[in-house]
């Protein structure tokens, strides 16, 4: 591989890491509260409100049913409004985050829903309010699942960021298509695949380690 291509590979790795990391972080910040809201407002939840619950669920399902490549294009005006441009790595973070947030919200919801209702009742019996229940019971008890779900989301984002080349975001997927596939640079294709495998395995390994440390359920 020529030094130019090698430099291109390094830049692409950075772009993929940036897109995955930034949109992952944003999906965590917005998706976890959304997941909490879904659990809390559901029937028998700590802030039961079926109207809110059904509306949130409908919005989440709406975003989740649009294929990412379409979302990428459809969100261009929104991206331009937020980032100032609709092209480039930073521009891709907007649709990636918007796609990953409802995805992660659903994953977090599953973990939060699995928290034993008896624990919530115990916290209520101690005089805890909703905030106490969220902070002391729901989130800590669901934390292994929340972290495992975040790992899954990050890996999914690595894959989704490959499509972001469509709006000039760069990244490893874009490199593989343009150089590896269209210019028959097999060495680039092989290098990209190896880097992606290492990246995904690394994310999964760190996630699994973290879950094992956090999980005290025996």
């Amino acid at each position: 591989m020529s030094p130019v291509l090698f430099e291109l590979l390094l830049r692409s790795i950075w772009e993929t890491v940036l897109m995955t990391g930034a949109s992952g972080l944003i999906s965590l910040v917005f998706g976890l509260p959304l997941g909490l809201a879904l659990v809390a407002t559901d029937r028998g939840g700590i802030a039961e409100s079926l109207w809110v619950n059904r509306s949130l669920a409908a919005i989440i399902n709406g975003f989740r049913s649009v294929p990412f490549i379409i979302l990428l294009v459809a969100l261009i005006p929104v991206t331009r409004l937020i980032v100032g441009t609709s092209i480039g790595t930073w521009a891709a973070i907007v649709p990636l985050s918007i796609a990953a947030t409802p995805y992660y919200a659903r994953i977090a919801e599953v973990s939060l829903r699995e928290v034993d209702h008896g624990l919530i009742e115990a916290a209520r019996a101690m005089g805890g309010n909703r905030w106490t229940i969220i902070r002391e019971v729901l989130v800590p008890e669901a934390l292994p699942g929340i972290v495992a779900g975040f790992t899954v989301t990050l890996v999914t984002l690595v894959g989704a960021s490959a499509m972001a080349g469509a709006i000039g975001a760069g990244g490893l997927g874009d490199l593989a298509i343009r150089y590896g596939y269209q210019r028959f640079e097999t060495s680039v294709m092989v290098a990209v695949v190896i880097v992606l495998i290492v990246l995904v395995c690394g994310i999964q390994w760190i996630g699994d380690r973290l879950v094992a440390r956090l999980d005290h359920r025996g």
Partner: protein
Amino acid sequence: MNQHVAAKLTDPVRIQPTGPQDVVRLVNVKRRLGATAALDGVSLTVQKGEILGIIGRSGAGKSTLIRCLNGLERPDSGEVFIEGREISRLGERDLQPLRRRIGMVFQHFNLLSAKTVEDNVALPLKIEGRPRAEHLARAAELLQLVGLSEKAKAYPASLSGGQKQRVGIARALAARPALLLSDEATSALDPETTRSILALLKDINARLGLTILLITHEMEVIRSIADRVAVIDAGRIVEEGAVWQVFANPKSEITSSLLGGIRPQLPPEIASRLAAGEGAETILRIDVAGEAARRPLLSELSASVPGPFRLVHGGIDHVQQQPVGTLFVAIPGSDAAHLAAVIAFLKDRGARTEVLGHVAGSI
């Protein structure tokens, strides 16, 4: 005339002053769950320092009852007084400080798996907003009380069932409650662990003077630690009294049935051969308790009413330091006059006697 009307309008239960000794007072509490009445007019009081046991079959309304006491469930009608304050219509926000006055122990422990033992114990204090140093000091004190000091840094998953319940008890005591509610606290434990947990509760009651209300479906639990028992069936209190008195003289069908496992019963092989009319032997059931059980009843009987009899089954048990016994006696023949004399004598000595029937041949 007007005075008369006014007096009639005043609900007599409302004007009863709540005694300073009443930690809990329920007045005609009703609660429906779907089509069934989970609580169908329950009234009872729990006095300061006592252990009241509420027993009933599953589905009798026990859990609903205990959950009404800390507002986890709200009665449809009736009043719930905790330390003299009516709570059944308080909002969630007003219930929160009240719940800190009430500790609760659960059947399945409900410990937080993500927190260490000491953090679990300290959680009520954290909820109350006390400083962390105080949490840890109090947790250490309570873990010592329940005998688990060395497990302070462990996670609940590494504990046995009995140890988990000890942590649950320590946690329930953390905020120095006025009342401890125990919701089938020993039902998930083996008999030996059950005994040690009950001994711990009894010890806490004696040492701290803590009022305890426990619900259970096991008479053995009531017998081990309760001072008074209330029997609940289909949402109603069907019987209530000092444990030894209820054991000695159960008034309702359900109480007798719940007592079945731990009080002497006529052996089935004899029960199956009982018949009315005549027989070789007459079987009597004699229930004695308190004074009547302290006397040499059987030797007095043979001295006063000459004639043979033999003991078939039974014995004297001690409940709350009171002798409570049931004896099954067989008297040869079925001479009505002799039987009448025996029964009259026993009745005179305070023993309840019942002719169960006659058996042909020897038993």
